[in-house]
């Protein structure tokens, strides 16, 4: 794989000084624990955060001290109260002298040793979780490439490499479904860049450095995946050009039979690229086309070319026309209801890229290499599609956007909005927060920007705590219509004050996908009716304006909430607004 170009560590060290003191809206505190010297990682993380408009405070703890830092309740670690803690451990420190001389003890003892080390880490993590709400990203260990047994290593029962495989597998198992703990595949990181590069013996011997300085920026880049996902800063959509991007050549000039797209080079590079795109589509990344072409010619290739991997059904929208690409891009964002800052753009033409990055700098325009063989690996280097959890909604997103396309068609053919909404046959099911819905509830609070009254962010653990609290009411809305299931798209959190017969709406949000169909009204109506049933006489709410949440500005006044200072108050003087075209159920 082509490796991403990263500046030297000295660049980050110098740059970190110049960005200190700059402040962005998004903030994160990162703690780093490690079993070896990892100087420079702090600076690289801070600089990379600043590049993504995130203010990052870091704290690096003494190497090899992580046991004390975690066990000591009054340690600097807990005083710092990080949002994310990276704990980076290496194989030598886990295996101790067995790393060099594993065969001084019999296989059974080696097993016992690994059992004990796994238990040590599981206990340490348990203590950590009891003391802090910080996310913990723990590394696994890189598998040693050398064995004193040479070619006989693989015949050896529970040999050196198997010890580490087993250690890694058991750490994975231990934390697979833990919402607070993530295992970073450090072994893959070392494999990607090569053990002989990542471990520079000179630096190791001089300074106990086990990730050489040249690879610290690469490590920081991979760890940024967690930082961005934790803040909900991720990209959702890949917009693609066609000619020389999805296939080789120009469909309008070379024709259907002559474009490069086949099982052998040069056409194979494009198939390879499309296969990686398809896999991203299946994890929930939206695909769209923005191409200057004759629509019928391009569509024929997409529909009928035998080696197209991606077909019409995979694209949420296709802008194939002769308008300028920048207007097309804006239309795509509008039609899909996504921010321009959630788009990644692939185009082989440097001039188009230049124009796009000038006109819409929020879009991540990829500097595509001239050689199409490198397209797939370029795509695989992009670290912006991460979410901390994968929900069913993620996996079905592509399908949902296709259904959305059908809705747009219906809207076009309907005489007016009311008529369209009636024909949609919308059904909303209000659900409680439970094990099935909590991951998605947290995800929506972290990601939703537009229709979100207060933009309060809650991690999965926070939602779990809220769900246990009897003074809170927390739930979500699943929406369906005649074209399909949109999954869980709405969330509300209410603080109940029984003494004063008052409710306070802490959070009210709706995924931008389903905005403007009265679902928000059905949800609000549900909350107000529910409150009335419980004898509430006053429902208070807030609208905290941000750069993005203008779409929900009118929700409260439309329901007859009156502004009192910073809050909005509803006192049942006007009847609860009805939403007749929506069928509402409770689960």
């Amino acid at each position: 794989m082509q490796s991403q170009v990263e500046p030297n560590l000295s660049y980050f060290i110098a740059k970190a000084r110049s960005i200190d003191g700059r402040s962005f809206q998004k903030k994160i505190k990162v703690a780093i624990l490690s079993s070896f010297t990892i100087n420079g990682l702090e600076e690289a993380l801070r600089v990379k955060c600043a590049e993504s408009d995130i203010t990052c405070a870091t704290y690096l703890y003494g190497y090899g001290q992580y046991n004390q830092d975690i066990l000591d309740q009054s340690s600097k670690l807990y005083e710092f109260s990080p949002d994310i803690t990276f704990m980076i451990i290496d194989t030598r420190s886990v295996l101790s002298t067995l790393f060099y001389t594993p065969y001084t003890i019999p296989a059974n003892d080696r097993r016992t040793y690994i059992d004990k080390r796994v238990a040590d880490f599981v206990n340490l993590v348990k203590t950590f979780k009891n003391r802090t709400g910080s996310k913990l990203v723990l590394t696994n260990c890189s598998i040693p490439t050398y064995s004193p047994y040479g070619i006989c290593e693989v015949r050896t029962e529970y040999g050196l490499k198997e010890m580490v495989y087993d250690f890694n597998a058991r750490l994975s198992d231990a934390f697979r479904s833990d919402p607070q703990v993530f295992l970073f595949d450090f072994n893959s990181f070392v494999a990607k860049y090569g053990e002989i590069n990542v471990l520079d013996y000179r630096q190791f011997l001089v300074g106990d450095i086990k990730v050489s300085l040249s690879y610290i920026p690469h490590l920081a880049e991979e760890l940024m995946g967690y930082v961005k996902a934790n803040l909900g800063v991720n990209r959702k959509c890949i917009v693609l050009d066609l000619d020389n991007t999805l296939w080789g050549g120009i469909i309008g000039e070379d024709g259907f039979d002559r474009i490069d797209l086949s099982l052998k080079p040069p056409g194979m590079a494009f198939m390879e690229f499309q296969r990686v795109l398809l896999a991203l589509y299946q994890r929930g990344v939206i695909l769209a086309i923005n191409s200057r072409n004759n629509e019928d010619e391009a569509l024929r290739a997409i529909r009928d070319h035998p080696f197209m991997v991606l077909r019409e059904e995979h694209f949420a929208t296709m802008k194939i026309n002769w308008s300028d690409k920048i207007s097309n891009m804006k239309e795509i964002a509008q039609e899909l209801n996504i921010g321009l800052d959630s788009i990644v753009y692939f185009d082989d033409d440097p001039i188009n890229r230049e124009l796009m990055s000038k006109a819409i700098p929020q879009i991540k325009t990829i500097d595509l290499p001239d050689d199409p063989s490198l397209y797939a690996s370029t795509l695989m280097q992009i670290n912006d599609f991460n979410t901390l959890v994968m929900t069913n909604e993620d996996r079905k997103r592509g399908e949902m956007y296709r259904e959305e396309h059908k809705r747009t068609e219906l809207k076009r053919s309907s005489s007016n909005l009311e008529d369209f909404l009636k024909q949609l046959e919308i059904r909303v099911t209000m659900k409680k927060a439970n094990n099935f819905t909590i991951p998605r509830i947290a995800q929506l609070t972290l990601k939703t920007n537009q229709f979100n009254l207060t933009t309060r962010r809650y991690q999965e653990e926070d939602v779990e705590t809220l769900a246990q609290d009897h003074t809170k009411l927390i739930g979500c809305a699943q929406t369906q219509d005649k074209f399909g299931d949109n999954g869980i798209t709405g969330v509300y959190i209410v603080n109940k004050n029984h003494e004063d017969k008052e409710w306070f709406i802490d959070t009210f949000l709706l995924s931008c996908r389903v905005m403007g169909r009265g679902i928000e009204d059905a949800m609000m109506g549900y909350i107000l009716s529910k409150a009335k049933e419980e004898g509430v006489i006053k429902v208070k709410a807030e609208f905290i304006p941000t750069k993005k949440n203008k779409p929900c500005e009118q929700l409260l006044p439309n329901f007859g909430f009156k502004k009192e200072g910073e809050q909005w108050v509803y006192t049942y003087k006007v009847p609860i607004k009805q939403t007749n075209h929506v069928e509402l159920n409770e689960d």
């Binding site: 560590l9 000295s10 110098a14 420079g40 001089v206 300074g207 300085l213 040249s214």
Partner: protein
């Protein structure tokens, strides 16, 4: 020393180029700790395509 080399040393050690001369080292420059020393190695190796040994 060439000016390019001086620039690299000054940049890594966070001092003025004028403060660097042939005698500069950990004893004469306060910022020159072992970590910066290693960064300097890395910079020089990548800029001049050379390899240092530990001796």
């Amino acid at each position: 020393m060439s000016s390019n080399l001086l620039d690299i040393v000054a940049n890594v050690m966070e001092v003025q180029v004028s403060q660097i001369d042939d005698e500069s080292g950990p004893e004469t420059i306060e910022n020159w700790d072992s970590f910066r020393g290693l960064i300097l190695f890395e910079e020089l190796e990548s800029k001049f395509n050379v390899k240092f040994t530990l001796n």
